[in-house]
């Protein structure tokens, strides 16, 4: 009995605590915090010649990043990411619900089905989508042979290199980030509450909106966040699937670091994105509270 408090007290085991914390903390500092700090410092820098950057403490890069041109691109990126997130929610919620109500044996397989594409390289998945969506791709070929069989005229649908393709790509890539947290929330839900609701005369629809969705709200909030943040910074989908109109902020950032050779401005734009992400994170408790209150 008297041994129990000693076992759980970390204050008495500082050495063990530090030994356990040390590696991940060191990893975090060395590979995340330090490089990010360097980029942050660059964002207050000035180009000196072609290969050097002086950290002059200037705010000129941020002033330029706040020009309407770049704010517009940022706003458009938020819009595209938000739309993709919304579609992920509309698709992901029923999927998560179906999985959580499936037989335990089937559940494993359905979850693997959600995860499987996720284990494939992002680049490969994006190229696969190109093969599906291109003018002479799978969808158009299938539609063409269908139209042929029915004797109808057919013009290939223009899907690749449009904003629609970018949204499709973002939804495809980020769907697991939405499904999994919602599934986790639904899985923990007390099923008897649903039965009670139905017994007391509420219809299925009302049960869904009055019981299931509020209980799943923390999962939905997590899913929204996990989808929105990476979608906001996505680079490959607009680059490979998009058209001349599909420029997102990450594409502009990439060009500053490469073609434009303007690292300070690229760093400032990157940190605009980071600040925006912080803002979204700060909004999260608000979102969760609203969800809980509903």
């Amino acid at each position: 009995m008297s041994a129990a408090p000693r076992e759980t007290s970390w204050s008495g085991q500082k050495g063990a605590f530090l030994a356990l914390l040390g590696p991940p903390l060191g990893w975090f500092l060395l590979f995340f915090a330090a490089p990010l700090a360097v980029v942050w410092a660059y964002s207050f820098g000035t180009n000196v010649g072609a290969a050097e950057i002086a950290i002059s403490g200037t705010f000129a890069n941020y002033a330029r990043a706040l020009e309407p041109l770049y704010l517009g691109i940022l706003a458009k990126s938020v819009g595209i990411a938000a739309l993709a997130t919304l579609i992920c929610l509309l698709l992901g919620f029923p999927v998560a619900l179906a999985i959580s109500f499936a037989a335990p044996q089937a559940r494993i397989w359905l979850l693997i089905g959600i995860m499987l594409p996720f284990w494939t390289n992002l680049l490969i998945r994006t190229y696969a989508l190109i093969a599906v969506l291109r003018d002479e791709g799978l969808v158009n070929t299938a539609l063409a042979s269908l139209a042929d069989a029915l004797g109808l005229p057919f013009a290939p649908l223009r899907m690749i290199n449009t904003n629609v393709a970018v949204i499709v790509g973002l939804v495809y890539v980020h769907l697991p980030f939405m499904v999994l947290p919602i599934y986790a929330a639904l899985d923990r839900m007390d099923r008897t509450l649903i039965e009670a609701s139905l017994d007391l005369g509420a219809g299925h629809l009302r049960t869904m909106f009055a019981i299931v969705i509020p209980l799943a709200a923390p999962g939905i909030a997590a899913g929204l966040l996990l989808t929105l943040v990476p979608a906001l910074g996505s680079y490959l989908a607009p680059d490979l699937l998009g058209g001349p109109n599909s420029q997102m902020i990450a594409n502009v950032i990439e060009r500053q670091f490469k073609r434009a050779n303007d690292w300070p401005f690229g760093a400032a734009l990157s940190f605009m994105l980071v600040y925006l992400t912080f803002l979204i994170l700060a909004l999260r408790p608000l979102l969760a509270r609203k969800g809980a209150g509903a």
């Binding site: 290969a51 041109l69 003018d135 490979l240 001349p244 500053q256 073609r259 303007d262």
Partner: protein
């Protein structure tokens, strides 16, 4: 050895169907794997004579590196970059051990300005005499010389013959016309795009003022609904796949896909275009500069140059190599274009970071419009 074999394999592959990977296209998508490759290339050390060659993918003769090894006993380890920016960014932080690099002409100027290249000892490169006179004293690299030309290229319009009314021999069809709406791909290289727009409007490539850039920007913003994509130097693949019918590309990239599809052709527009050269240079901090000079000299050899050009299908500035080629190859109008467009073409010159920034912003605005 692994890297060595890899280089050879890539050279062979470019000839086969299905792997028509232009030197600029493949690695740009596979940026990460490129870093992995080049790290692997630098990781191993040995006492044997070795040389680190940092170049474009599929940009050397099938057996060139093996031939060099047979002739000198020096093993060349090749690693690859996809864009000049990648090369520049990598060397910006200090040379990680490369002996020979292959920057394009305007980057030679930039790298000399940034003090990143060693001046060449021309006495150690006797094969420089093989270079054609028009490439012997290039404007981008005034003496003391820091580069020797390896290949040259010209931008033009690659097109699908069965899908155009007539050969699109003017930039108009890309920049200023509704005729091929939705079937056009332009380059995402901002400096090339804005300068070629200026060329179409009748200005010199190297005299693009902010006003002219503004005019080009307005023209391209107007043209945007007709443009399907700003490609990342994979325009030849889009053309081959049938995604577009007209594409702004280099002659060498189009020549590579013409081997697979006879319905594709290439034209240098009559207003003139932009000439580029890829060059061999020795970066500052190269571990083995003497061996690097020997390797450069070997690449400028007539027989080696012929073999390289016949593999990669990029025009060579090597007159002696050209003389060894079968006449049908040397007369190939895509690899060695001629005509009024060529006569009006110019070398681009690097005019500083402010201008680069102006071009970049113009393209960002066009894409955001």
């Amino acid at each position: 050895m692994a890297m060595h074999a890899n280089g050879i394999e890539c050279g062979t592959r470019s000839g086969r169907r299905g792997t028509r990977i232009g030197r600029r296209s493949f690695l740009s998508a596979m940026g990460l794997s490129a870093i992995g490759l080049s790290l692997a290339g630098c990781g191993r050390r040995s006492d044997a004579e070795r040389l680190n060659f940092y170049t474009w993918d599929t940009y050397i003769g099938e057996t060139t590196l093996a031939d060099f090894r047979a002739a000198t006993g020096i093993e060349v380890r090749a690693s690859y970059f996809a864009t000049n920016d990648e090369l520049f960014a990598k060397l910006k932080a200090g040379n990680p051990g490369y002996d020979v690099i292959v920057p394009s002409n305007e980057f030679v100027t930039r790298m000399v300005e940034a003090n990143m290249l060693l001046p060449l000892d021309l006495a150690a490169i006797p094969n420089l005499a093989n270079i054609l006179p028009e490439f012997a004293e290039p404007p981008y690299d005034p003496p003391p010389r820091h580069s020797v030309p390896y290949t040259w290229l010209v931008l033009g319009i690659g097109y699908r013959k069965s899908r155009v009314v007539e050969p699109p021999d003017s930039w108009k069809w890309l920049f200023d016309s509704e005729l091929y709406r939705g079937r056009i791909a332009l380059t995402s290289e901002s400096a090339d795009l804005i300068r070629l727009g200026a060329k179409y409007l009748g200005h010199s490539l190297n005299a693009v003022s902010p006003e002219i850039a503004r005019q080009v920007e307005q023209m391209l913003a107007r043209q945007k609904p007709a443009i399907k994509r700003f490609h990342d130097d994979d325009g030849q693949d889009m053309l081959l796949a049938g995604d577009v019918d007209l594409v702004l590309e280099t002659n060498g990239d189009i020549a590579q896909v013409m081997r697979e599809d006879p319905d594709i052709d290439f034209v240098v527009p009559r207003e003139g275009s932009l000439l580029n050269a890829d060059t061999l240079c020795i970066p500052k901090g190269a571990p083995r500069p003497e061996l690097a000079h020997r390797f450069i000299n070997f690449l400028l050899d007539a027989e080696a140059g012929r073999h390289i050009a016949e593999t990669i299908l990029y025009p060579t500035p090597n007159g002696a190599a050209k003389a060894l080629m079968p006449p049908e190859f040397a007369a190939n109008p895509v690899i060695f274009p001629t005509g009024v467009g060529m006569e009006r073409s110019e070398w681009g010159t690097w005019q500083g970071p402010e201008q680069q920034r102006m071009f970049e912003e113009a393209v960002t605005r066009i894409r955001a419009a």
